[in-house]
Amino acid sequence: MAKKITNNIRRLRFEHNEMTQQMLADVVQVSRQTIVAIEKDKYSPSLEVAFKIAAHFQLPVDAVFSYQ
């Protein structure tokens, strides 16, 4: 089976004071729809956005995203 990039963003948002998708979108400077697509594994973000998301949650990238 083909591997794909998955993520824990949804869980991390809730662990960070129930942060909304819009708030995260504003932090990483993308649209809310892009955050929705990333959370549903419908879009793999660029390295830059992946690092921005990880930096916001103060975690390494591989704690937010995984390739499986």
């Binding site: 729809q33 697509a37 549903k40 973000p45 956005v49």
Partner: protein, 152 residues
């Protein structure tokens, strides 16, 4: 549905509506044996005017409905989807160029079209290019809508 996706849906609808009218006009004129270069030019001018008017109206209405996102810039996902749409549109335009050149080199291949439209050959070429550009535009919008829905 994002501002950008909504805008693409409306542009697709406008494109289909305007060009359906254009080709209907061409078809009925050719059926009545009244298709002339002047009539075609007039239909083309109508297309240009309607396209400009409806696109302005569409952007105004969408901006009024969703004024918060009216100044929204494309993010990386929008850019990627736009690129995929343009790539598919480009293939169609390339094929159109080849067909237009083939029509010029081997007019016998499109003799049926020449007889049906009863227009000078340069107007046939214009219509081949218009059809190709239209299909390319529809392909571009459809590809974008597809990737917005399915993900990329």
């Amino acid at each position: 549905m994002s501002y950008k996706e909504r805008s693409i849906w409306v542009s697709l609808a406008i494109t289909l509506y305007i060009w359906f009218n254009y080709f209907s006009e061409l078809y009925w004129s050719s059926q009545q044996q009244s298709l002339s270069p002047e009539r075609m030019q007039s239909a083309l001018l109508t297309v240009v005017i309607w396209t400009i008017a409806l696109e302005i109206l569409h952007h105004l209405v969408i901006a009024m409905i969703d004024h918060k996102n009216a100044n929204y810039d494309q993010d990386e996902r929008d850019q990627k989807i736009a690129l995929l749409g343009c790539k598919n549109g480009y293939y169609i335009l390339s094929a159109t160029t080849i067909i237009a050149v083939l029509h010029l080199l081997f007019p016998i291949m499109s003799q049926g079209l020449v007889l049906a439209l009863n227009l000078p050959t340069e107007y046939i070429i214009i219509n081949i290019i218009i059809v190709g550009a239209l299909i390319a535009e529809i392909t571009k919008f459809s590809t974008q809508v597809f990737y917005y829905r399915r993900g990329c």
